[in-house]
Symmetry: C2
Subunit: 454 residues, 2 copies
């Protein structure tokens, strides 16, 4: 099997403008990949190729007329199947929603269409974007998970079936699958992209994007936000109308999350090499040994996973209780257990968790004065073997709890399988994070650790 190659959309815009390539040709290349790989990878719950071809033809015409609707006009995109679409079912990885359609597009999907993007299909999600996986396989190794919960978007972008995917993250659901599938994953600041019409209600939930490059990820996100804003009451993703240029950071913080304890030697070696490359380029790397603030944060981060689980449980009491009323036999044990955990809590317990989350967020915010961003792994290892679980979210959950922007950069391979390097920024400074990440990606280069597959 050849190494899958995610396709960059932004790099093709010049060819569209000059007429040497068309959006229809770009889409056809994606459809070729779909026809070749989808039978194995199973990234989609629904495909509408004819509608996509018609949309690509319309986009081609706009480019030919010199009047594209935006810099993502013609970009083939897949929509995680918890996000509503007018013309396709939204099934949320649950038998309870088999064939269900609300009849309306989500805020983000409507914005993408306004911008001329091509909605190719719905992509596999775990059950209600939580734990129980769908059928998707990792395009780098079909024996492995693509990660979750944005499984299909990551896998499809990872092998060039799509140029971009919408995802959502409340624990690790963008960063983890993007890391496993060798693509850029972007979870914005809290409220950065309007969640209207997306079934991700939780207070840490964010809608985000998966794409081949930083440029594509930014463009997709900002085009949505220019048209649909962020969540009501939030400023939404703040930044320029095109991807920010790379900016060399003076200092980066090496975030030693609890995940490092379980990271494999190869993963640690990749991280070390990345840090060493950055140091060699003149970036100061601070660690807990240099910074009391960083040490205090890292100590607190040991609570992140249980705190997130409890907050998510309370916030899932509804609608899970209505799902159980409807047909408990269609829910996984994990979902029923989550409801039981919620029902063992009361609103006071929940408030206490919110207070603690705010305290940890405050510990993070002060780092802003010490480092341009935090750097760590995106996962403890490459995608694990098996598709009955979606891997460990211990690295990805940190930015979810903190409510801050995170990017995973596909800069490393271990034994040929991708692993992401994660950059974590500050609230509503997503554009600065992109600038830092662009420098990091350019500086770190491709790290190939030669090892046995784990």
């Amino acid at each position: 099997m050849d190494k899958p190659i995610p396709c960059s959309f932004a790099q093709t815009l010049g060819a569209f403008a000059s007429g040497t390539e068309t959006p229809r040709e770009f889409l056809d290349a994606c459809i070729d990949e779909i026809e070749e790989r989808e039978g194995d990878v199973q990234a989609f719950t629904f495909l509408q190729l004819d509608a996509a071809r018609a949309a690509a033809d319309a986009s081609t015409q706009r480019w030919e007329e010199g009047s594209p609707l935006s810099a993502i006009d013609g970009m083939p995109i897949g929509v995680k199947d918890v996000i509503e679409t007018a013309d396709m079912p939204t099934q949320m990885g649950s038998g309870l929603f088999e064939g269900w359609s609300p009849g309306f597009d989500s805020a983000s999907v409507h914005a993408l269409r306004e911008a001329g993007a091509i909605i190719v299909g719905k992509t596999v999600t775990t059950e209600f974007a939580a734990t129980r996986p769908g059928p998707t396989r990792n395009p780098y190794d079909l024996a492995r998970t693509p990660g979750g919960s944005s499984s299909g978007s990551a896998a499809a972008v990872g092998c060039g079936m799509l140029a971009g995917g919408l995802g959502t993250q409340v624990v690790g659901s963008i960063i983890r699958p993007a890391s496993y599938c060798g693509v850029v994953g972007f979870k914005p600041s809290l409220g950065g992209i309007n969640r209207g019409g997306s079934h991700d209600y939780m207070s840490q939930s964010c809608q985000g994007v998966l794409a081949a490059t930083l440029e594509d990820a930014w463009q997709m996100a900002i085009e949505i936000v220019m048209r649909a804003g962020g969540d009501p009451g939030y400023p939404g993703l703040v930044g320029p109308a095109v991807a920010p240029d790379a900016v060399k950071p003076g200092t980066l913080a090496f975030l030693e999350t609890p995940g490092l304890e379980i990271a494999t030697p190869a993963a640690r070696a990749a991280l070390e090499e990345a840090l060493e490359n950055l140091r060699r380029a003149g970036v100061t790397i601070v660690t807990r040994r240099d910074s009391k603030a960083l040490a205090a944060l890292e100590d607190a981060l040991h609570e992140t996973l249980p705190l997130t689980r409890q907050i998510n449980a309370w916030e899932s009491r509804w609608p899970l209780n209505t799902y159980v009323d409807r047909d408990v036999s269609k829910l996984s044990k994990g979902m029923v257990d989550r409801l039981h955990e919620a029902e063992a809590m009361n609103v006071e317990d929940y408030r206490a968790r919110l207070v603690r989350r705010d305290e940890i967020r405050a510990l993070f915010a002060v780092l802003r004065h010490e480092a341009a961003a935090c750097i760590t792994l995106s996962a403890p290892d490459v995608a694990p073997v098996g598709i009955e679980a979606t891997g460990n979210p211990i690295f990805a959950v940190q930015a979810s709890l903190l409510g801050v922007p995170a990017l995973t950069l596909p800069v490393a391979t271990l034994g040929g399988l991708p692993l992401g390097l994660q950059a974590i920024g500050y609230l509503n400074e997503d554009a600065a994070l992109f600038s830092t990440a662009a420098f990091v990606q350019g500086t770190v280069g491709d790290i190939a650790i030669d090892c046995e597959k784990s």
Copy 2:
């Protein structure tokens, strides 16, 4: 026509406990009112009386066994028709949603059922809880509007067809109709009641309650919050498990909103009498002439209506754009105009409005050091004649923009028609507002202004 008498549920609990009255009898009295008045008042879009009777029988049995589920076990409640219900359609006052049902209860409705409350039916809302009225008439005078957008809940509680109603408010949609229909209306602090499954997405939107008494309003709200919490990420309504006792405030601020300029002489006379009664009881009433902070706030409040309109417009861009895609002929001109206003804005315009809103909220928050609550009218007059418009929201919108709790108290009648006195409190101090309001209601008494009907 007799004066409609809203029915207090809390005052009947002793009779339920002792067995001298049953929830079934209480419901039957409501149904008698429905049978007598609903043909004229038209408060409901859907009634399920048989299911309600069965639920009341089950409640009766629980009370007889000495094991009611809560202090609202058996309370007959109506649900504003933007809030989803599993067993009844949710039509949002729009032909676009005729017969539509999501198949699941909203968070609040599920919580009410868990607490043993009886869901009697869905109540009329204006189109998408905005401007275009439904068919509902004011139970005090069928020639007049009940107010909106929680029209049906207010009218039904106002004439004892229900003991309580769920409502929503983003401009004046609880306080205004409650004022016009002679009931208590409670708009909680931002995020106070979980909006899950309710089609009120905007950043100022709150779910709230309408009831005959302060006691009932508190109990209904707190029973929901104990089971469903507030909006994700918010503490939710904070306070005791039973309605707070009356507490005499040292000082109240008389909030001279822009609405006073258009208040009728009779309305101003009622307000003056209320303030005089409070002064006589030893409460200090501060005004803009005593307090620079209050004067600064009041000056800023002149922006409230346009600022709210602009914020709501941007936040309605979605889903209105999807509704237009579906069938623009089924939307009112007001909704289409709102979409056009949104499309003339960009996300930067919206951010500027949020910043200004935050500034005004900060001006309000400092009043906390000067007064226990603010007092003003709930509307410039009694309900206007005609049902083609729902009245002026200029008094009610203030607390919506501020994000703080507000109560309207049915203490005045002008020429026999109700007008509410409004008490506005501080963020997440809803319980203190109830204590102050209970004192105000007890002290002000019934104010009857003898005047020609306006």
